[in-house]
Amino acid sequence: MQHAKPFFSCGYMKFATALLVTVMLAVSACGGKPLHTSKWQGTADEMKTGPGLFSGDDGEFTVDAE
């Protein structure tokens, strides 16, 4: 089946890259509050944070040493 040519082009993406870097640098200087690390430091296939069916609120069984 023939399909239409892709909408995106390399030129736009190079510009978007430069824009993203600029935005990152600019936004990082604008304060704000920390965002939970699980939302931006992990990978998309990580286990979801939060409670588990058996493990309760922590979402994990923890053995603490004395």
Binding site: M1, F8, S28, P34, T37, K48, P51, L53
Partner: protein
Amino acid sequence: MGTAIVGAPLILAAPAAADDISDLKTENTALKNQIESLARDLQKLRDAVHQNEQAVAAVKAESESAGPVVTSGQANTSLSISGQVNRMVFYADDGDQARWFQADNDMSSTRLRFAGKTKMDDDWSAGMLIEAQFESNSTTDVTIDQNTAVIASNSFTQRKLEVWFNNAKLGKLYLGQGSTASDGTVETDLSGTGVISGAGFAVLGESLAFRLSGTGGTSSGVTVGNLFDTQDGLSRDDRVRYDSPTLAGVKLSTSWVDGDEWDVAARYGRQFDGYEVALAMSYWDASPTAQKTGMGLSGSLKAPFGTSLSASYSLEDLEAAARDDEQFWYVKLGHDFELTEIGGTAVSIDYAETENASGNNREGTFYSVGAVQNIDRLGTEFYATVGMYEADIPAVQTEDITIGGVGARVKF
């Protein structure tokens, strides 16, 4: 005389009565002593019962506290065990055949995790992580023609086998098998539908082949995985990785990977008056092993009313002669809201394009809709999706592949 006769028994009986009274007194004294002794014994029993009740309460209180089940010679040490099961009923129609599969959703596979950590002082801590996945009939491996669960996917596969050392001011160092610095930098997503929808969508039917149109099902030799590759950096591998401390929401990372590959990455996460912003970008050099270099970037913005917009782009420059750069674009619009009290609901629609994947002038298009319902008390997400893969391969025409399914991810 009569008086004497009458009085004689009385006189004779007097000493006998006195003896009886004495006996009664003696007996009474003995009974009193016995009662007092029994009373003392009863009090002792009451005291013993009270002590036992206190001991039971103490044991119960101790068992309900966070006391250790096992002991360690190391203080401030913990071992955490966690995991999840993620199964779905997966549907695929390649234009020639359609089929339902009982599959493991490889968007976030079934797995088990052991994480240990110890705090050495206020600044230093160390730990280890063992994470392995158990997949039976993974969505990555299913093919239309299979008759049984694919043996290769019934596996115990490594994900992370690493140790780490962390200093609050200097950063974190990882050694072992795990995420490289660039892993995940093309997958930033705040939509809440990541369990079934995301830039890594090609794991849903990755081994399905595009069929040539009008040939009764002849394979084109091109699979979903050939045409749709997120190009998400160096993924997971054996490496040394360093992460900087987070400063103003920015974290820098780099890794040196087995085979002399390397990468660098920058991540940003912050919230402003309820608006959540997450950004990531990376560069990787896989020249020694795969003869290519690449770059990727992604971003996601979520408003306080639940609407989110996510976008990704990646490019790989192949060293092979006459091979054009492979490119990947992805965009998703999502919205999450509280439909019921049992947990949040999230929906999304996404779209992707690829160019020159596994061959010059090959193009791929993908789009899907997805929905997720959380059940917080059960640590469970129910989800559903419908999507379509389209291929544009030079000199051939192929049938589109439709996919869909429903499933659940349970975190235990």
